[in-house]
């Protein structure tokens, strides 16, 4: 199936908005900007739409996070996921099969108890489960690793390619140009303003540039002279052969630092992190990563021993010190916006797209994304989120 929504024509010399990066973030933002009535928007993508992390992720969707900042922002996104297929006119295959944050120790269960209480205050629908309830919900799990957890019944997963295609197609229908195989090589600025971008297909003038370059976001910000305090990391994932349904909810395990779900097609898709996440820009799979995933998933679901893997792959993400995204304007450079630093950027795309579009269009940063500013990173004023299954080692 050809990728929908891709422009075939040439590049124009001027646009009102240039978005660097055709991942789910750049495409969702382009769609939302056009939905607000902005015209002359283009998305420049070095490869093809979805070739970055957006086509390589674990496709999980939840808002059951521990901090107020994460939980409220991602809940706005989760609510959008439910009706996204209807809105975009293309099935993103969102399946609200439920999302379980699995606790394997008493300490982890206490942590879960803490954020389940916060969810109640925030109006999120989650339940704190004990070991027996988790075993009923997911009987395939190794009972030794089940102490309890937080369960979000309307979380789940979608299909990553379908979501990228849906946004690209919906954006293109509103006149957005998505140009594949067009790499941004420089950003022109003058007197604290953005003037345009240089690309492998020529120069473009524009007053607004958005950095949505995923694992290359730091390089792109650097082109504008904006130092981005991020490091690039590789995440790896595996997929097994198709098996009859044995796991209904999506899940994240705090103990093993892993996440997985069984797709409608029956494959188990998931990834794990090792204790120290080393900076890497390679898209190669590592044997270390493959063994870590195989061993942990077999520990989590013992009957997976002997199941064959179909594929193993890697993707890169550019992460901040608190693992939260960077969203919004850059104070010293007018017309330059950041939509990067994403580790959970698949599930976050619907809300990020609409809220950042509002910020760009109206000039006011909406409250839900205000905490994710670049200023917080510069001030070292980090967001504390303790339900993540990725880690920078010291977190």
């Amino acid at each position: 199936m050809p990728i929908p929504g891709v422009a075939r024509g040439g590049l124009r010399r001027t646009y009102d908005v240039v978005i660097v990066g055709g991942g789910i973030q750049g495409l969702a933002l382009a769609y939302e900007l056009s939905a607000r009535g902005l015209r002359d928007i283009c998305v420049l993508e070095a490869g093809y739409p979805g070739c970055g992390a957006s086509g390589r992720n674990g496709e999980l969707v939840r808002s059951a996070f521990s901090s107020v900042e994460w939980a409220t922002f991602f809940d706005a996104s989760l609510r959008r996921w439910r009706d996204l297929s209807v809105e975009l006119g293309f099935n993103v295959l969102f399946t609200p099969a439920g999302y379980l944050v699995l606790a394997s120790t008493q300490e982890e269960l206490d942590r879960c108890r803490g954020f389940a209480a916060r969810h109640r205050d925030l109006g999120l629908v989650t339940e704190l489960l004990g070991d027996r309830e988790v075993r009923e919900l997911a009987p395939a799990l190794n009972p030794e690793l089940v102490a309890g957890g937080v369960y979000q019944p309307d979380g789940g997963f979608a299909h990553h390619d379908a979501a990228v295609w849906a946004y690209a197609r919906a954006a293109a229908r509103r006149g957005v140009e998505v140009h594949p195989f067009t790499r941004v090589t420089g950003i022109r600025t003058d007197g604290g303003r953005v003037l345009g971008v240089g690309t492998t297909r020529g120069e473009i003038s524009t007053p607004v540039v958005v950095d949505a370059a995923g694992g290359h976001a730091r390089d792109v910000a650097g082109m504008a002279g904006v130092p981005l305090p991020t490091t690039t990391h590789r995440l790896e994932a595996i997929v097994t052969e198709s098996l009859a349904p044995f796991l209904r909810p999506a899940l994240a395990t705090l103990h093993l630092l892993g996440y997985c779900h069984q797709t409608t097609r029956g494959e188990l898709v998931g990834g794990t992190e090792q204790n120290v996440m080393e900076p890497a820009t390679s898209l190669n799979g590592s044997l270390r990563g493959l063994r870590d995933m195989a061993q942990k998933f077999v520990r989590l679901i013992p009957q997976l021993a002997g199941v064959r893997l179909l594929r193993h792959w890697a993707g890169i993400v550019d992460v901040t010190a608190d693992l939260a995204p960077v969203l919004g304007p850059v104070p010293e450079l007018e017309g330059f916006f950041l939509d990067c630093g994403w580790v959970y950027g698949f599930m976050g795309a619907p809300a990020a797209g609409s809220l950042l579009a509002e910020a760009i269009d109206s000039g006011n940063v909406p409250e839900l994304i205000a905490p994710f500013s670049i200023e917080r990173l510069r001030a070292g004023d980090y967001i504390r989120e303790s339900s993540l299954v990725v880690t920078l080692g010291d977190a």
Binding site: F90, N91, V92, R265, G285, S286, L290
Partner: protein, 405 residues
């Protein structure tokens, strides 16, 4: 062959085969054609490449799924089952298939999300029908070991090129390890009469010079740590090769035509291997589809085993007849296959040519339309880390390619 007879269980009954055969050939000899079924629509599938290189013959052996029957030697006493029921036994998926064409769920269902939620559950039941391993079989695997090894020269593939390269490197004084996925060395030699003997001589030359040969060892992939991961029955080995010789040979090409996945439709070297290596006739009446000289050679070999064989050659008559080897094999030139017929396995094919369409009854089809290099490991090594293939990479130092491609 008066080799030892071995009994095993298949779907509740007892089947007997011969020592040295693969499980797949033994089942074929016993008349079993359907070994697995396709994803989603569950079309019946059976032996196709007979080289461990396609998904069609995966069966469940002693509680473990996904075992390629065509390259797994028969031990006797094993319990073999189909992992998924095909639509022949359970026609629902095939019947609903006209309502669920490929990709339908992207376009038809977005306006009715509730319908997707229901469809999703039904699809999961139909499409995802592989079974998990039996708990005991799974538990037994957990003892598998992990070992790291440095070897001066690693040769992947024990065909004639690999074995020859191994002998040469060993004679020159290097430590050499030859990896072979199959349980028998020889590669394409095993499809030729006398090939096993020739393979034996090559093995003697290589091991005599000091090379080590590891059978049932699949080189899984090249990893960025500079390691070649190898899966064996007893665990995982991470090899750090000083030099890597890729002698992985080639795959036979397939040919697309209607119902071309029916059991009985095979690749020609696979059909030959079944006959020569395992002593099992792929069929009683075989049509070879070809446009290459080796298709005619395959036809002659099969005919020599007493099989009723004809050749459909896609080229014009002069080229087709020039390559014909065996006067007892009729050649239909300037024609090609349009469809296979038969519900469970092939019973006839349709052949089209300038004079229209005709039907040939047969119980097997052998496709001989060329080969392509088995170059996955080479490509992995060459394109390591690249995302977008803008330029052709150079061959990295320390990697050699051996053999005919």
């Amino acid at each position: 062959m008066n080799a030892e007879r071995l009994d095993f269980r298949f779907e509740g009954g007892v089947v007997s085969g011969v020592a040295g055969q693969s499980i797949g050939s033994a089942l074929h000899a016993a008349g079993v054609r359907v070994l697995s079924s396709s994803f989603k629509y569950r079309r019946p599938r059976g032996l196709y490449c007979v080289a461990g290189a396609c998904p069609n013959c995966a069966v469940r052996v002693d509680g473990l799924p996904g075992v390629p029957a065509c390259v797994t030697p028969l031990r006797g006493g094993e319990i073999v089952e189909r992992d998924r029921r095909s639509s022949v036994m359970d026609p629902v998926p095939d019947r609903i298939s006209r309502w669920v064409p490929a990709g339908f769920y992207y376009h038809r269902l977005p306006r009715r999300p509730w319908l997707w939620l229901r469809t999703e559950r039904v699809l999961a039941r139909i499409a995802a029908a592989g079974r998990l391993p039996d708990p005991d079989a799974a538990a037994a695997l957990l003892d598998g070991g992990f070992e790291e090894r440095r070897v001066e020269v690693v040769v992947v593939g024990a065909g004639s090129a690999g074995l020859d390269a191994a002998a040469g490197a060993a004679r020159a004084g290097s430590s050499v390890l030859v990896l072979e996925r199959d349980h028998q060395p020889g590669g394409f030699l095993l499809s030729e009469p006398g090939g096993a003997t020739r393979a034996g001589e090559l093995v003697t030359a290589a091991t005599g010079a000091g090379a080590e040969l590891m059978l049932g060892a699949t080189a899984l992939g090249w990893f960025e740590e500079g390691l070649l991961a190898v899966a064996t029955r007893s665990g995982l080995i991470a090899l750090e090769p000083g030099r890597l010789v890729l002698a992985t040979g080639s795959y036979e090409r397939g040919l697309p035509f209607a119902d071309g996945d029916r059991p009985g439709v095979m690749l020609a070297a696979g059909a030959q291997r079944m006959l020569v290596r395992d002593g099992v006739r792929p069929g009683g009446r075989i049509v070879v589809i070809t446009d290459e000289p080796y298709g005619h050679a395959a036809a002659a070999l099969l005919h020599g085993a007493g099989i009723d064989v004809s050749v459909v050659d896609r080229r014009p008559a002069d080229a087709a007849h020039a390559d014909a080897v065996d006067a007892g094999v009729p050649v239909l030139a300037g024609r090609t296959i349009a469809a296979a017929h038969g519900r469970r396995s092939v019973e006839a094919i349709s052949v089209v040519g300038p004079n229209g369409r005709s039907r040939l009854p047969c119980d097997a089809v052998a496709i001989a339309v060329g080969r392509r290099p088995a170059d996955e490991l080479l490509l992995e090594r060459l394109y390591a880390g690249s995302v977008i293939l803008e330029t052709a990479p150079e061959r990295p130092p320390g990697v050699e390619v051996a053999g005919e491609r």
